[in-house]
Symmetry: C2
């Protein structure tokens, strides 16, 4: 018995979500579909230009933990907020979903991280993230007993942006492997891959990471190629399992010479892609830690991603087990 199925670690962020047209993105120098890192000054300037918004707890790995708990898995989360109202909201929401979360908040400055997310008419999201309190997350926030008792510890590549988090991850990997657990990461974003390509490859090749999540753009960026098949062959060499999402084409699970293709869920209305990759990881890791086949893991991933992109916000407000039952997966 393990106390947790999955521990996820990431930047603890509250999303501020608004709709805009494509011109707004180009007029304001926002890279579409990407995670744009911004400082406090730019955050203020951009917020002044943003239309009326709604707020929802987010953060890539936070969304993944929430999705796992929604599915009925035992999830835990590490991530740093400040002692402020957005921090209270973040902590409330992840705990209310049933996720274990006790990372110490960081005083009042810098404030809790927020990401201004602009959703264009095509449903694509473009993020503008001010990291705030996340820059204080470090090795002292690693709860060793939680790592030791989690079947899989998963973290976001975005954690290479704040200065201290990578050391915390290295510590987690050591503890996890000492206890016979597995480590997993998502490459997060193709620009993030460009920033930290060599370090990510080293994490994989050194065996620090067992299971890697990526989308098409990220895996191409990782190997600096336009040849998707070649990139899949390379990632197969570099880690034990890779789960690569391909938007409306579904996903492919790569393990050695195996290539398991899974179709995307049929979408009635694409509303907001925020959380798609995060929820794919939720579904995959939930099924993986239940001992399901890799094909089923991929199916659970596509199912959860399909639910979240048909609503506003990064965490499903509906029952994922019900959706899984409807799809014949449970």
């Amino acid at each position: 018995m393990s106390k947790y199925d999955v521990l996820t670690i990431g930047n603890a962020i509250v999303d501020i979500i608004s709709r805009c047209d494509d011109n707004f993105l180009s007029d304001n120098g926002i890279v579409k579909a990407a995670m744009n890192l911004i400082d406090a000054e730019r955050a203020e300037a951009l917020y002044a230009k943003m239309g009326p918004a709604v707020e929802a707890s987010g953060g890539s790995a936070g969304n993944t933990a929430a999705g796992i708990a929604n599915l009925g898995g035992k999830a835990a989360y590490f991530g740093k907020v400040a002692e402020d109202q957005l921090g209270e909201i973040f902590a409330h929401d992840i705990r209310a979903q049933g996720v274990y979360y006790k990372t110490k908040a960081n005083g009042t400055f810098p404030p809790t991280a927020r990401s201004m997310i602009f959703v264009t008419p095509d449903g694509e999201r473009s993020m503008n993230t001010y990291l705030g309190a996340c820059v204080e997350f470090g090795p002292e926030d690693v709860e060793a007993d939680v790592v030791a008792e989690a079947k899989v510890t998963y973290f976001e590549g975005y954690l290479w942006d704040p200065p201290l988090a990578k050391q915390a991850i290295i510590d987690c990997a050591r503890i996890a492997h000492e206890h016979g657990r597995e480590m997993s990461m998502t490459l997060s974003d193709s620009f993030c891959v460009q920033r930290y390509r060599d370090e990510f490859l080293e994490l994989m090749r050194s065996g620090t990471i067992d299971i890697v999540f990526a989308n098409t753009q990220e895996v191409l960026a990782l190997y600096e190629t336009e040849d998707f098949e070649a990139a899949l062959d390379k990632i197969a060499d570099d880690c034990k399992i890779a789960a690569v999402t391909m938007s409306e084409k579904g996903a492919v699970i790569v393990k050695g010479d195996e290539r398991i293709y899974v179709k995307a869920t049929k979408i009635v209305e694409l509303v907001d892609t925020t959380g798609a990759g995060d929820l794919f990881a939720s579904g995959f890791l939930y099924a993986y830690t239940q001992g399901r086949s890799l094909e089923d893991c991929g199916k659970f991933g596509c199912l959860a991603a399909g639910v979240v992109i048909q609503q506003i916000g990064p965490r499903p407000s509906t029952s994922l087990p019900q959706a899984a039952k409807d799809a014949g997966l449970i």
Copy 2:
């Protein structure tokens, strides 16, 4: 020329919205479909029991102002937040919608008001409001030039809950009438009517108020009767114009002996009734200040209410003018 079509005044609140089943309401002593006033201690206890939520700027009169601005009307708003993150969110959202809003924030304690809104599977919302900084709103917050330049000044009956707001409203009414403007109010909630029945009737009978908004339950509570027609006759005597909403039966506009019935908008899916009455007032007052007939005012009201109940949250995230065009109203 008037600088503003409508000035609205109310408790400035951020909504915290979650879904629950009916048992949750009864288990926690929440009166269904009502606005339940709560103190800080109960707010904390209830939040601890609330599921994962999303946040959106709300406040009845704030929603009405946002709806008027969405329709293309010139709107202004008075309401008190604190100097905190929720206060910044409230101020941002109402200004970003194009509403004039300059009420001075109130330091950091008490914090910005929030209402925990539980939406049951039938789409009904049950509110639990902690007034926070709203208790500091008073006569010093009346911007006389704004009142003088607004065709209609509208406020929520909820303002009788905080201690100082009613004097501000009396001041506004004097300024408005001195400048040949009209005053309007909503009765807000049937329990609010029970708390302040005599005062609300006095506001109407003294001519302090010209136009009254109410729903069926509120007008019945006002006259302590079960006879809707009798209540309509009484309200016709007590004010110049009454606009009474009747949920799925639409609305009736009452002016002297006139009774103008307007059908409700056809609803594809009832998602969340939050903001229905507020947006009815938006549509009505927008059309009223454009010089449209009372029947058209009612139609605009039903249209705007119909839009907001088919989404989560109290302010339409879509274009009301487009909806009005589609309905042949513009």
